[in-house]
């Protein structure tokens, strides 16, 4: 694992500071920067007035500003002044989980009525994935996790730190900039029966490429035949189609087919609660009794990591989801965010076509969700950074949420500049 090399320095037993030569941390090398958060850091340090941040997947309005949703403001005004600073009561906690899980399985689902799921709140999507990875390792210590190629960079870190080895399976086709469906099916077929897979139910990160409903059906059927375990990381529900229910359709197809699944949910993007770290992890069970067992194990893992998640975000989410008016407002606000992104996708593509770009930019509008996997090479990405102060990750992933009517022409021109010679 991590090497512990022993460079013993000579040691004095004197307690005076000047004689101390014992150096605990000399062996600590500087860590590589996170490929996503380091983009934001560099962006913040840039003083150029034309800079654009297309790095992290955080929604921006048409002025390029972060947004606090109206439903969130209302929820926050309600809870200010409440007696809720102690650990989450189990009532509040169950409420959040129940409401979250309704978003996944549909509010009339039998799963919910019969309590056939183990659900715990988690520290947003990352925390939910990590809890599951630790749980997977604990009960299936020899298992691996199959991840899409590519996937969110932090997925690799999460399962690695949980000591679960990873494999990749075909997903993105660089030529079509779409789904490599037949290779995907082959990989699913060829994986040993009962393998664990990490799937993005909608708005795939980083590619924006989602299977069609038909394709999902085929994948689900194959999973059933192979007895694979699908784990869904749903970080962008609402951002793919603008419709929350539709975005969960893939999960529902798997469940209807009788697959037993797990699902991580994040409220960072669709409720704009990034910094509050609110999410949910649920695992489907045979019955309510088993659900109790699994939940207790998940809670134990969490207890040794951070005990319990922060209550403020939990109160906001459960407040919004359990009030029909606030929930309706939220649904509208999600649709508006998704619409704005969709409209800028169209504008960007049109602008590039109007510039007579030699390249095909259809993928900008074919891909869905927050990201566009542009196909730009690392060299082109670097030029965009140095010459135009446009920031994105080296794999060419652009967060479309950072594009505005104010900067889209500048962006199109810049992309054209670095790609016009092919």
């Amino acid at each position: 694992m991590w090497k512990c090399f022993s460079t013993r320095t000579s040691r004095c037993f004197s307690t005076s500071a000047s004689n101390r030569t014992l150096k605990w941390w000399d062996r600590v090398a500087p860590a590589p920067k996170d490929p996503i958060t380091s983009v934001t850091e560099a962006f913040l340090a840039d003083t150029s007035p034309t800079k654009i941040n297309l790095g992290v997947g955080a929604y921006r309005d048409d002025e390029g500003k972060p947004v606090v949703l109206q439903c969130v403001k209302e929820a926050e005004a309600k809870i200010a002044g409440c007696d809720f600073l102690e650990s989450v009561s189990s009532a509040v906690s169950s409420k959040l989980v129940e409401e979250s899980v309704k978003l996944v399985y549909g509010k009339n689902s039998d799963i919910i009525k019969e309590g056939r799921f183990a659900g715990v709140q988690a520290l947003s999507g990352t925390g939910a994935c990590r809890l599951f990875a630790e749980f997977q390792r604990r009960f299936y210590p020899e298992s691996q996790i199959y991840m899409t190629d590519p996937t969110w960079s932090n997925h690799h870190n999460i399962w690695r730190d949980a000591l679960v080895p990873e494999r990749t399976f075909h997903y993105y086709h660089p030529d079509s900039k779409g789904l490599d469906f037949s290779a995907l099916l082959d990989d699913v077929k060829n994986a040993p029966d009962g393998s664990f897979f990490l799937l993005h139910p909608c708005a795939h990160n980083p590619t924006g490429v989602d299977p069609t409903e038909e394709q999902w059906r085929e994948i689900s059927y194959l999973f059933k035949v192979k007895n694979h375990f699908p784990f869904f990381d749903m970080a962008y529900q609402g951002f793919a189609s603008g419709d929350l229910d539709r975005d969960a359709r893939s999960i529902q197809i798997f469940v209807e087919d009788g697959n037993v699944i797990g699902c991580a949910q994040s409220f960072a993007k669709n409720m704009g609660l990034y910094g509050h770290r609110v999410g949910c992890l649920n695992v489907l069970c045979n019955d309510a009794k088993q659900a109790v067992a699994i939940k207790s194990q998940l809670q134990q893992i969490a207890r040794a990591m951070y005990s319990s998640p922060p209550i403020h975000g939990i109160l906001l989410v459960s407040g919004i989801l359990s009030d029909p008016n606030m929930k309706a407002l939220w649904v509208k606000e999600v649709k508006a965010m998704a619409n704005r992104i969709q409209s800028l996708r169209t504008t960007l593509r049109k602008s590039l076509e109007q510039l007579s770009s030699p390249l095909n930019w259809e993928h900008i509008t074919n891909q869905v969700g927050m990201f566009c996997f542009s196909g730009l090479t690392p060299e082109q990405v670097d030029r965009l950074l140095r010459e135009f102060h446009i920031y994105m990750t080296l794999d060419g992933r652009m967060s479309m949420a950072g594009v505005t009517t104010g900067n889209v022409s500048y962006l199109a021109n810049a992309i054209h500049e670095v790609t016009k010679f092919g």
Binding site: M1, W2, C4, R11, T15, S16, A17, S18, R20, L22, W24, W25, R27, P30, A31, K33, T37, P66, V67, V68, A77, A80, G81, F84, L85, E86, S87, V88, L123, S124, R130, F139, N154, N157, D161, K224, N227, F229, G258, V260, A268, G275, H276, R277, N286, A293, I294, S296, Q297, Q299, Q300, A304, M305, Y306, S307, S308, P309, P310, I311, H312
Partner: protein
């Protein structure tokens, strides 16, 4: 459901010993029930307390329309980190002034300990941590799951109900050089037994001479004596000698922010360069765990710590909480003395912080729960914060009965 769950053979995990007490308490329908389990402060009326200064800070945040909910950096809120370091190490600490301290925001004490332990498991050369016997129940699990091997050093002496100082010195003296040692900065949990300043100095000298690495858990700064600086004395003593150490801070109790999960991990290093490299590696621990810490609680803390009036208000409210606990100790002691309960109960007023290690055994504890509906952890630890003048008589009766009837 067509197919069986792949997790069908999973058994139910045992209840957490401490949190399980509250679960049992909640199920009890007796009007006399008393929860002396988890260390959460209660008022004289038995209610949880949200500090006034916290309410004010929270209202300020809500009213500030310029505030957004973006991700914090992986290491957390910068202001919060700087202010937390000053709080524990002292504003004039040379280690801070020389930029030798890296501080990262974590999820309360638990999160800070876990991140620190994960970092040590990856980068440190001696993967054994010595923890006092006894210690908070979650310590063993946190360090174990982080990949450290856990050993104990003698700490509590049941005969004196005080510190087994000789045993402590012997055990730390025998520890392999470079071992990590967990130290409760003040108000030891569960015993309430703290070393004196002189004893701390001896511990420091021994540890430095053996190259043992101190890892402080500071969950009760301000609760021990009522004075924040005094309660950080042990930590500052170690930092003052120029050596390195880790310190986990929690704001759960002293700011009453339990549910918001606010804390910080600081690592004091020899040089600024080392501190910077260490920080970069801490980020690699945090990112795959939960990406970045929660914004709300840390914003409240930073708001309070950076405003002189609010800070002063906080110290007053904190002292009031500490004083109420000290007064409960006195009341319980006086009450047991008046009742003539057999035994020496002076440890109740000698022990420090939120907890009293009563010395009651598991049979007696079970008896008190069954007959008197009094809930505490099975090691006989009671949270003084859960007591009030009104409930002291009931507890006295229960202890008296347990001692005289339930061997």
């Amino acid at each position: 459901m067509d197919s069986s769950s792949v997790f069908a053979n999973i058994v139910r995990a045992p209840e957490d010993a401490i949190l399980g007490v509250t679960v049992a308490y909640n199920k009890d329908s007796s009007p006399d029930k008393l929860n002396l389990g988890v260390g959460a402060y209660r008022t004289e009326e038995g209610k949880p307390l949200v500090l006034k200064v916290v309410r004010r800070a929270e209202q300020m945040l809500v009213n500030d329309n310029s505030r957004v909910k973006e991700y914090l950096p992986i290491v957390g809120l910068a202001d919060f980190n700087k202010l937390s370091a000053k709080l524990i190490f002292g504003a004039d600490s040379p280690a801070i002034q020389e930029n030798r301290v890296t501080t990262v925001q974590c999820l309360s004490g638990t999160g800070s300990l876990r991140v620190g332990a994960e970092f040590l498991a990856r980068h440190y050369h001696q993967l054994t941590i010595y923890i006092p016997n006894p210690t908070w129940g979650n310590h063993t699990k946190i360090f174990g799951l982080a990949g450290l091997s856990v050993k104990a050093y003698r700490y509590y002496d049941p005969a004196t109900r005080g510190l087994d100082f000789q045993g402590l010195l012997e055990d730390l003296g025998a520890a392999p050089s470079g071992s990590i040692v967990l130290l409760h900065a003040c108000a030891h949990n569960p015993t309430g037994v703290d070393p004196t300043i002189e004893q701390w100095e001896q511990i420091r000298q021994l540890m430095r001479s053996k190259g043992l690495l101190p890892f402080f858990d500071s969950a009760y700064q301000g609760f021990a004596s009522g004075n924040l600086d005094a309660d950080a004395g042990s930590v500052r003593m170690f930092v003052a000698d120029g050596g390195e150490c880790l310190a986990a801070q929690s704001y759960a109790k002293n700011m009453g922010l339990y549910g918001e999960r606010v804390g910080a991990l600081s690592i004091v290093c020899k040089t600024a360069d080392v501190a910077s490299r260490v920080e970069s590696q801490l980020k690699l621990v945090i990112r795959p765990m939960y990406s970045n810490p929660p914004i709300h609680g840390a914003s409240i803390v930073a708001t309070i710590l950076k405003d002189r009036d609010m800070y002063n208000e906080w110290t007053v409210e904190l002292k009031a909480m500490a004083d109420r606990i000290i007064s409960m100790r006195q009341q319980l002691f006086d009450s047991l003395s008046a009742r003539g309960t057999p035994g020496d109960w002076s440890h109740i007023i000698k022990q420090i912080g939120m907890f009293t290690f009563t010395g009651l055994n598991t049979k007696q504890v079970a008896f008190m729960t069954k007959e008197y509906h009094i809930y505490m952890t099975s090691d006989g630890r009671i949270s003084m914060a859960g007591l009030s003048s009104r409930t002291v008589p009931h507890l006295t009766e229960a202890i008296h009965a347990a001692v005289t009837r339930a061997g």
